[in-house]
């Protein structure tokens, strides 16, 4: 480290970034303040009616649906990301690695709206998915995917799985191939190597990816808006509804505060569980 005596310099260099983050913090405080205002006189009154209004079965169902879809999409996205991450970490040829990275980045970076349009075609009653399922004889009649939970779930998995794959790939890349060789010399099968060597070693990367997917999908907006319609109302879509047609700012703010708190609670809880399980593993290596 250079100059450790000058304490002001790092903060001076961090000032611009902190200014932008201060906007974020101020904005978060504004929402919290707004959520305890009453409709019509937002900045001067204090009331908890917006939160009390959220305690209706309608919102509770939406909160439960949001958390459930976020959780299901996280589990499935992580499972799908495993082969992709291994391929990214172990591919030898430069071209293969570049193609893999492009394939992973496209769903993450290309506009969610456009990808949802693609899903509209795939999931429609005469769409690709139904036609293939019918052709394979898995279903007898076309399944309704659009504006149903399963359709939204597919969209959520597809748009968020890169968030699981990227941290997992960098965690796997850091694991030397000699661990696998050692396990193989001692007679472990490929499945055993994956299950008992690779995945446990890559666990921190897998978990941070899983948390990213969960947070991203709990607040998903574009996908449920286009693929879910009115029938699959995730919380983020409800926030929009309260602003655009209803102009009820306190209710919208309260809903988004609840969304944020629920996400944070789940993330904190899972991190705690992980720490505990790692500690237990650490005692008996």
């Amino acid at each position: 480290m250079l100059d450790q005596n000058s304490n002001a310099r790092p903060w001076l260099l961090l000032l611009p970034v902190l200014l932008f983050l201060a906007v974020l913090a101020a904005a978060a405080l504004a929402v919290i303040r707004m959520s305890v205002g009453s409709n019509g006189d937002e900045w001067h009154s204090v009331s908890l009616t917006s939160y009390a209004d959220l305690a209706t079965p309608y919102y509770m169902k939406s909160l439960w649906l949001t958390l459930r879809l976020a959780f299901q999409s996280t589990v499935l996205a992580v499972l799908l990301a495993i082969p992709v991450a291994i391929a990214m970490a172990r591919a030898k040829s430069k071209l293969a690695r570049r193609l893999l990275l492009t394939g992973v980045l496209l769903p993450l970076l290309v506009n969610l709206l456009l990808q949802s349009y693609g899903w509209l075609i795939i999931l429609g009653p005469g769409g690709v998915l139904n036609n293939s399922l019918l052709a394979l004889g898995i279903v007898q009649r076309p399944v309704q995917w659009l504006y149903r939970e399963n359709g939204v779930l597919l969209g959520l998995i597809q748009t968020a799985f890169p968030l699981a794959a990227l941290p997992m790939a960098s965690a796997l890349k850091a694991i030397s191939g000699s661990y696998e060789e050692a396990a193989a010399t001692m007679g472990a099968s490929r499945w055993q190597i994956l299950r008992h060597v690779l995945l446990p070693l890559a666990m921190p990367g897998i978990l941070s990816g899983a948390l990213l997917v969960f947070a991203y999908n709990a607040s998903a907006f574009a996908v449920p808006l286009l693929l879910g319609g009115r029938r699959v109302s995730m919380l983020a879509v409800l926030v929009r509804d309260q602003i655009t047609p209803l102009l009820n700012w306190p209710a919208a703010s309260a809903t988004s505060v609840v969304l944020m708190l629920a996400t944070l609670a789940v993330m904190a809880l899972s991190q705690k569980l992980v720490h505990r399980s790692q500690k237990m593993l650490g005692n008996t290596p």
Binding site: M1, L2, Q4, R9, P10, W11, L13, L14, V17, F20, L21, L24, A27, A28, A30, V31, P83, A87, R90, A91, K92, R98, L100, T102, G103, L106, P107, L109, V110, N111, L113, L114, Q115, Y117, G118, L120, I121, I122, G126, V128, Q158, L166, A169, S170, G177, E180, A183, A184, R190, L211, A215, Y216, A218, S219, A236, A252, S253, S256, L259, T263
Partner: protein, 283 residues
């Protein structure tokens, strides 16, 4: 070349990629690209319905899209050209500001030890898990409260916040690879800190900086959710413009516009990887 051909012929050794994993990875990635692929195929269709695969192929939607682009309908609030212009301007501004903000931050985080560093690092990563909808409505509240008119900077500020984690991570990754000895050498030869920064550190950091800038550009160019809350008629970006066109019915010219946007994205991502090289993208 042998290294490319051999793994296909013989059983892979432990620590190498097996064929099963390779096939699985390819299948997953093709499935993940399905929405984009479907959209591209649809855009070449020549029927009025949204049936897939299209019964016949042609370029009629491209012609219609070109017509919309060249001579916008009076019914549109804004032409596609204007929306594209706004999008590019916002993305460019986001890219430059994000770089200007992220470079000093990455330098401070890598070259100094100070109390509160871990906290600052976590704070910078916060926008990645901050609900987008909450970001949209909270910034809307703050901007509406401000007495001054921000214009497109409403969007730029939001996009810079969203791009910060990517920009700082990529700059940090490149600066972590440069030992402090380069600067020390420059100091020994009498360079002032600022000169050492501009003539030694920044040129060495270039790949990371460019990757961070490109990331910021791509994030901004494709952003929909937050922009959806913050836009007004004069500051409509391309994604929001597309949404406003399709809110009542999905017309297939949208697919031609979408292909155009995906091509831009594809080019940008390819360029990004060229810069990032083998280290992968920092996330």
């Amino acid at each position: 070349m042998t290294s490319l051909a051999l793994p296909l012929l013989r059983r892979a050794l432990p620590g190498q990629l097996t064929r099963l994993t390779g096939v699985l990875a390819t299948v997953v990635l093709i499935l993940a690209a399905m929405p984009i692929i479907t959209m591209i195929i649809m855009s070449f269709g020549a029927s009025d319905t949204l049936a897939f695969p299209p019964p016949s192929y042609g370029l009629q939607w491209y012609r219609a899209a070109w017509h919309t682009f060249m001579s916008p309908d009076a019914s549109d609030v804004l032409s596609m050209g204007q929306a594209l212009g706004t999008s590019l301007m916002v993305a460019l501004a986001t890219m430059l500001i994000a770089a200007a903000v992220a470079i000093p931050a990455a330098y401070a985080l890598n070259r100094f030890d100070f109390p509160g560093k871990g906290l600052v690092e976590q704070f910078i990563a916060l926008p990645m898990v901050y609900p987008l909808v909450m970001l949209g409505i909270s910034l809307l509240l703050v901007f509406n409260y401000l007495p001054l008119e921000l214009g497109i900077f409403r969007l730029v500020i939001a996009h810079v916040i969203l791009a910060l984690p990517f920009a700082v991570k990529n700059c940090s990754a490149s600066i972590a690879g440069i030992g402090p000895e380069f600067e020390e050498a420059a100091y020994l030869m009498g360079a002032r800190p600022l000169r050492a920064m501009f003539d030694v550190v920044l040129p060495l950091m270039r790949p990371g900086i460019l990757a961070g800038m490109l990331f910021a550009f791509i994030v901004s160019f494709n952003e929909f959710t937050v922009t959806f809350f913050l836009y007004d008629v004069d500051t409509m970006t391309l994604p929001v413009w597309l949404y406003s066109r399709t809110v009542s019915s999905l017309d297939p010219t949208v697919f031609s516009f979408a292909v155009f946007i995906v091509l831009i994205d594809f080019g940008l991502i390819w360029l990004l990887e060229k810069l990032v090289g083998d280290d992968g993208v920092a996330l």
